[in-house]
């Protein structure tokens, strides 16, 4: 069965957004598969749904400080704390990164729709998407601050026996 290079597509999409829209440096860490994530989180998390023959979600997670920095870079402004502008900017960064990944993988996974992003922020919370599939996680570092870009995909019910299975490929980790 064909392995689809999610990690490489996540890297390309993220680097493209950082260079074209944010003008911020990033380095990529080692990708991994996250199973049954149960740790609580402090910071900003942005989720966006994917639906087609394959269904799932994309997620960006980072600290509030990095969210403020990314938003400031996007909007040419300075943010000391998370406010409506920061939430909106993080939603749009998520839309662009996951949307770009979606376009890149549609040849293998078929056409997919993208939902409107949902952004959550706070302390000591857990978020979970139901529906199966493991999360492919690619960590990025922007001047030491970590941003995780995650994608989870599983066959839709009508196509559970068809299509490539999404797995990270170690040879494509940068």
């Amino acid at each position: 069965m064909q392995k689809v290079n999610l990690v490489s597509n996540i890297c390309s999409a993220t680097e493209e957004v950082f260079s074209m829209m944010l003008d911020l440096p990033i380095t990529v860490g080692e990708a991994y598969v996250e199973v049954n994530h149960d740790e609580s989180f402090n910071g900003v998390e942005s989720l966006i749904g994917l639906a087609g023959a394959w269904v799932g979600a994309g997620r960006l997670s980072c600290s509030t400080a990095l969210a403020c920095r990314l938003s400031g870079a996007l909007l040419c402004a300075k943010y000391e704390y998370v406010n409506e502008d920061v939430l909106d900017a993080m939603a749009e960064v998520t839309n662009m990164i996951i949307g770009s990944v979606k376009t890149r993988i549609e040849d293998d996974f078929g056409p997919m729709g993208l939902s409107i992003p949902t952004v959550i922020f706070g302390r000591n919370y857990k978020a979970r998407s139901t529906g199966g599939g493991d999360w492919t996680v690619v960590p990025f570092f922007c001047d030491g601050d970590r941003l995780d870009v995650k994608i989870c995909l599983a066959p839709g019910n009508a196509n559970s026996h068809q299509g490539p299975r999404a797995q990270p490929s170690a040879q494509h980790v940068l």
Partner: protein
């Protein structure tokens, strides 16, 4: 002559960025009118004349392709240049937008130069 522009996107961040990009692209801006989705865009068009529309595709209430088709079917608005600015990058979506009458298509993420390039010859 100053150009009145309608920017249609459910992201306030993108609407701000596009305003900035239009200035960087040295577009002689008049009024900048914003709409959160296709329905709001039609309300704005009923109230204001514009010389250019920049529109996202994926929006709630009415998406950009439906907005595009509605505008092109209306005698009052059918000649207004429309550029789609969207994360939708598949060939099918691009062709669909161009067939519906979009004058240009820019994929997000974008640079100011890419927007400027699309505007040349349109405005």
């Amino acid at each position: 002559m100053a150009l009145d522009v309608l920017i249609v996107d459910d992201s306030a961040a993108i609407r701000k960025i596009l305003q900035r990009v239009l200035v960087q692209a040295e577009v002689p801006l008049g009024k900048v009118i914003e709409a959160n989705d296709g329905r709001e865009a039609l309300d704005r068009l009923n109230a204001e004349k514009v010389g250019l529309i920049l529109s996202d595709i994926n929006m709630p209430n009415m998406d950009g392709l439906e907005l595009l088709a509605t505008i092109r079917a209306n005698d009052q608005w059918k000649s207004v240049p429309i550029i789609m600015i969207t994360t939708e990058g598949s060939q099918n979506k691009v062709l669909q937008a161009l067939e519906l009458g979009a004058n240009g298509y820019v994929r997000k993420p974008f640079t100011a130069d890419q927007i400027k390039e699309k505007l040349v010859g349109i405005i």
